[in-house]
């Protein structure tokens, strides 16, 4: 078991290295002078020089890479071109709201989506299945900000159940936190629920056709036990996989949702960075999200063994 985990952890290193090289080259291989692009049209030579210096663009490429990689390994993600503060510090300040939002979203999504998918598969080709699938396709098709505005319109503006926008940390009280976090979490959950429900249904449909399900029924096992004890555990691996790979969607969703609901998380940080062309921040966000994605999928990989004893170590 330990050996397997170690092997999986080591296997993430090349992935992260390739991501890092990719991000590094993205700036350096841009046609034209990246400093001039980032500084905008009205830049003075002094400003250009400052940006070049900040991004380390004056050295030969391999020297740049060694310096850059060394900084990243030490946790130094560079300095913002705008605020002149350390990017790592900026991210640390904004991480809390985003983490709270993400955790809430994942919990809501899994709790909603898995039962939806199971029931849709169980009642395959009935109106229940049709409803779940319709919701799922709809969730894929409506842009996340449109969902956000619709929810605001209904629950904040018409019904006045919750504030329109803003964020309060849980430390200020669970009530105010939830009142402000529930709409963004639901907004963000829509596409995730669609994704997971769809995969749960597909995976369950496959498993429900297996011989051992027939065996379980032949034993006189109750239908809820057939579904949740016999079928769902066998269907778990693809569902876990989609939760992992769907994380990329969640990250994109965070950026949009935080700007719709005006939440001071790392998504907002990113949007502000785009408008200001603050490249070090954008670059750090790519590295960070790729890293989170890799870690989440590593955890998913390892968790397979909890559900399927055939995956041996």
């Amino acid at each position: 078991m330990f050996g397997y985990i170690l092997k999986r952890v080591l296997a993430t290193i090349p992935v992260m290295v390739i991501v890092a090289i990719f991000v590094f080259l993205l700036l350096r291989l841009t046609p034209g002078d990246p400093a001039a692009i980032l500084a905008g049209d009205a830049a003075t030579p002094a400003q250009l020089e400052r940006i070049r210096d900040r991004l380390g663009l004056n050295d030969p490429l391999h020297v740049q890479f060694v310096t850059w990689a060394g900084q990243i390994l030490r946790g130094d993600l560079g300095t913002s071109l705008i605020s002149n503060t350390s990017v790592s510090g900026m991210i640390a300040d904004r991480l809390g709201p985003t983490l709270n939002l993400a955790v809430m979203t994942i919990v809501i999504s899994v709790l909603l989506a898995v039962p939806m998918g199971v029931i849709a598969a169980w009642r395959h080709r009935t109106w229940v299945d049709f409803l779940v699938m319709s919701f799922s396709v709809l969730g894929f098709s409506v842009p996340v900000f449109v969902i956000g505005y619709i929810l605001i319109q209904i629950f904040a503006i018409e019904l006045r159940w919750v504030p329109v926008q803003g964020y309060k940390p849980p430390a200020d009280g669970i009530g105010p936190f939830l009142a402000r976090a529930i709409l963004p979490a639901l907004t963000l959950a829509t596409i995730y629920v669609a994704l997971i429900a769809r995969m749960t249904r597909a995976s369950m449909l496959e498993v429900l056709g297996e011989d051992y399900i027939r065996t379980a029924r032949a034993k006189g096992v109750r239908e809820n036990v057939v579904l949740f004890r016999h079928a769902l555990r066998n269907a778990a691996v693809p569902i876990l996989t989609i939760i992992g790979t769907g994380f990329a969607l969640l990250i994109s969703g965070v950026v949009v949702t935080e700007s719709v609901f005006n939440i001071p998380g790392i998504g907002r940080l990113t949007v502000d960075a785009i408008l200001a062309r603050d490249y070090p921040v954008i670059q750090a966000m790519i590295l960070l999200t790729a890293g989170i994605y890799v870690v989440v999928n590593l955890a998913v990989d390892i968790s397979y063994s909890l559900f399927d004893p055939r995956i041996r170590y």
Partner: protein, 563 residues
Amino acid sequence: MEFKSRDFSDAARVLKIRGLKVGLAGRPEAAPVIDGIDLDIRAGETHCLVGESGSGKSVTSLAIMGLLPRGALEVRGGSIDLEGVEITQASAAEMRGLRAMRLSMIFQEPMTALNPVLRVGEQIEEVLNMHTDLSAADARQRTLDIMEQVHLPDVERIYRAFPHQLSGGQRQRIMIAMALVLDPHLLIADEPTTALDVTTQLQILKLIAELQARKGTALLFITHDMGVVAEIADTVSVMQNGRIVERAPIHELLTAPKEDYTRKLLTAVPTLAPRAARPDARGGDVLKVADLEMVYGGGGVLRRGGGVTAASEVSFAIGPGRTLGIVGESGSGKSTVARCIMRLIDPTGGAVHVAGTEISRLPRRSLRPHRKHLQIVFQDPYRSLNPRWTVARSLCEGPINFGTPRAEALAHAAELMEIVGLPRDALRRYPHQFSGGQRQRIAIARAVAMKPDLLVADEAVSALDVSVQAQVLDLLDDVQAKFGIAMLFITHDLRVAAQICDEVLVMQKGRVVEHGPAANVLSDPHHAYTRTLIEAAPGRHWDFANFRALDTAPAPGPKGETA
């Protein structure tokens, strides 16, 4: 040979089916899958339901269990009476109460029939938890008891095992334990030994018989294998196209079948009496294999120690127009040898001479010109033809690779269709428009189109029904006689080997244990393993095709009982 044929007319009737009809759900106009069958089974009786694929035997068993796939099949009429309970009218909850308590079922494939993510002990115990109020400790004890009764070793350890950690035979014992733990009155066994090796099959058949005798269970045993029927049945129903065409006690059925279809089924069963070897033809050997060895996974940098030896020290030769059979159980290495000779895998040692050239070391590119000398026919007729290609395109692929002009290849393909007994216009059609037997004929035509010196048949008739099997074996014989091809015939079925092979080579665990003329090996085996194999062949004392006992009963086993 001795038959059971016990008389059960006094015993209580457990199952009574009258006029049962099953049809496609929601399509009343379609022809029924089961068309008005009657069936009676009494306590303690073993009733065999025999028929070819598609005859409706499995659907019958699912109908009795109330497990017809929802939305696909439904009961249209008739009654299924289980000790006074009408199953066709039972609610879902009533049906659940009957299952495992009053009727149980064992399925064909013990690997897929057990839940892979639950411990096998838990899977048996679940039956008790669902149907009884036993305490956890009592349920566990009862589970261990039934595991002892099905002769599983080291039950405490196996209780905690997952299905993939057990052998096929052990898994089927778990299935039997699960089915019988609550002493049901009716046990349905749907091809329970078909996926098992012949020696394991014998053990499982004995176990079922033993438990049935002890508990007085009525047994409905579904099979396609007449040998198994002869071993275990008291009474037999023969099923064809959703109807029962004949019902008789076993002895009567095998000696004096009344219906043409029953006759046809029986005459198609090959006997275990080996064919007379054909004269050894002049000329050198077509195929010569010397010390062939295949080791998987060895020699890696990180993997120290040897890999898995799939075959070693395999040597034999085949002359033109002769057939050598390799027989053995799963894992014996027989298919590995075939694949090495075909160079679908690269052997790790030894030499393979085909038509005078040593091919075991040739690099892929220089191997290609030699490919036309040796061709192969695979087991699964549904996967051995490209489903997107017309038959013509499949048949022409090889000749065109070797420079035959398309028109000429096509003309030759048309001739081949006649040789294998298919209409010429079949060339324009796609594989899914043909039955399994017809597809196997096309695969043979494709191989023969290359005018090979050697034909490798890797379990080429194992997936076919027995009547189709006989026709394809005849075809292989014809083709061989016509073109003088040498044939390497891989099979697990001794009856098939007896019918077609001049020489037989018996493999066990990657090694050759016995090799000689078919008549010698099958009638007078010298190696203990060969004897075990022959003794395990069900119905080996009966000559089905001639409706009588086999006078030269093969293989008098000095070692007596098998394990």
